[in-house]
Amino acid sequence: MEKPEIPVEVPVSKLRARSRRDFLLFGAGTLAAAAGFWWLLPDDTRRLHLTDKMRGWLDSLEARVGATGERRERFLNGVLTFDDDVAEALYSPDRSVRTYSKSDVTPLRNNYEGKTPGPGYLPGWTLTLSGLASGKIETLTIGDLLSKFPRHDQVTRLCCVEGWSIIAWWGGLRFADLLSAYPPAPGAKWARLDSAVNLDFSGNPDPYYVSIDLPTARHPQALLATHVSGRPLPLAHGAPLRLLVPMKLGLKNIKAVTSIAYSAAEPGDYWGERGYSKYDGL
């Protein structure tokens, strides 16, 4: 129950002093918030606001207090790492990904960032494995992969960092099976998957690469997919072999994989180097 309000008699001088203090704090907070926002705003968005003169004045003020773009990057990277640590702490130990029925399948979406590679690479395509316990470099054809490993099917969802998602029926070999057939060198903790055939917007080579931690690679729902909807992968979806890790964002699900290299140190990640998380766990 709400209690009745009880008025209290307070000396006017005390009220004035408190008022002054609180309003000063309020003003300081407002200024700090406005300055913080300006600092976080990207340069080309800044150009859409205020006049040249005001922007110049704010920029020099910023430089004087040492609020550099470099510091901003470091700060935001810290936020990203924090969020990834929270996700890892929340993650359930079994890490199973929800599966759907084939009637839930939605249309696929080709989200190649650049041009979709043409069919020219397919006849000569091989998968190169390095960083193996044997010390050798293995080269496998799609025929080797299809005949050597059992095929697993799963209907899972692919979530894009952009916010859209699709549900598809994938088929392929388990990454875990490849790992036990060609074990990585002792001490390896990471896999780097490369697609040498990836293109940029104008169709020039733009190799794509992702980092995957080995526990994720060994997950039973991590596939090296060769099929979608029961048919071999089309070019738009990474023929002849793509990574399918439905517990990670779509950008980790590299298409047209051409090589896998195991390492002890965390390898580079294409989008991780472009301001996105490299953890990408869903």
């Binding site: 129950m1 709400e2 209690k3 009745p4 309000e5 009880i6 008025p7 209290v8 008699e9 307070v10 000396p11 006017v12 001088s13 009220l15 408190r18 008022s19 609180d22 309003f23 309020f26 907070g29 918030a33 913080g36 926002f37 976080l40 705003l41 990207p42 080309d44 968005t45 859409l48 935001l76 990277n77 936020v79 990203l80 924090f82 969020d83 996700a87 929340l90 993650y91 359930s92 890490r95 990904v97 929800r98 969802r157 979530c159 894009c160 960092v161 952009e162 916010g163 859209w164 998602s165 439905p246 517990m247 989008w271 472009r274 301001g275 996105y276 998380s277 766990g281 869903l282």
Partner: protein, 270 residues
């Protein structure tokens, strides 16, 4: 022998009767919400831009499939100050959001503001309990008839002012009138919905039970977007009514006390 000059001068009141309105943590979290929600909306719009959840068939002339892009195109076409913008479809995203083609930055900032928002929500709840403010927020049965009276009052207040007719404010026997209570009580609930739908979108594999609460992934996105619109819509009457109510109300959210002492209140001593 009486002399007016000899009467002692009445001393200026050295004290004033005030009532405590809002706990310091409630005030702090209230104002922190302004930049935090602004940041959430600005970065959220830039994320939304990458893959709008509300889409229509491609417009033959503009090529747009997105209602927010349509709004920008309309603004650039019809609002004098905005005409000639090189990117009409991005007008809203560039002005209200942090800009188009800034998904990576927008995501990182969105997580930053999201963690601040959650921490601030805890501060608010803590303040509500430490200052006993939660009691005034809890809905009660009398709120239904009182809300109707308040609606009738607001509907007639302007005409009554213009016609110079008396238009008394319905009696309020609580810290808030029924409409205020409804609005202020729904804010924390809206905050919880925002956080829950946000996590469902952010971690749909780990928190699949949470995603199912919103039916599916797009369900969570639609709730998340709608909550943002409701937050934004709340601000407009909220600010107008504070202005209408006056300085004391605004000040009480900064200093915590109010000089408005309800009639019939028993006095205490500081």
């Amino acid at each position: 022998m009486s002399s007016i000059a000899a009467a002692p001068a009445v001393p200026r009141a050295a004290t004033r009767a005030v009532v405590v309105k809002h706990h310091a943590l409630v005030r702090l979290s209230h104002w922190l919400n302004v930049p935090i929600l602004f940041g959430m909306i600005a970065t959220g719009l830039s994320i939304y831009w990458a893959a709008p959840v509300f889409e229509h068939a491609r417009d033959a002339t503009t090529g747009s499939t997105d209602y927010i892009a349509d709004l920008g195109i309309w603004i650039v076409r019809h609002v004098p100050g905005a005409s000639g913008d090189h990117d009409p479809g991005g007008w809203v995203y560039n002005r209200v959001g942090i800009g188009t083609f800034h998904l990576a930055l927008a995501l990182r900032l969105h997580w930053l503001f999201a963690y601040l928002f959650m921490a601030n929500g805890l501060l608010y709840v803590l303040g509500l309990f430490l200052g006993d403010g939660y009691r005034a927020l809890l809905p009660r049965l009398s709120d239904v008839p009182e809300a109707l009276k308040m609606l009738r009052y607001y509907a007639g207040v302007l005409p009554a002012k213009l016609l110079r007719r008396p238009w008394p404010h319905p009696p309020v026997r609580s810290k808030y009138n029924a409409l205020q209570r409804g609005a202020y009580f729904s804010m924390p609930i809206l905050g919880i919905l925002a956080v829950a739908s946000g996590w469902a979108i952010h971690k749909p594999v780990q928190l699949k039970w949470l995603e199912r609460l919103f039916v599916n992934y797009n369900g969570a996105r639609i709730v998340h977007f709608t909550v943002m619109v409701v937050f934004a819509a709340f601000v407009v009457p909220h600010v107008i009514l504070v202005f209408a109510d006056g300085w004391d109300t605004f000040r009480s959210m900064i200093t915590g006390w109010s000089e408005r002492v309800r009639e019939g209140a028993s006095h205490g001593k500081a």
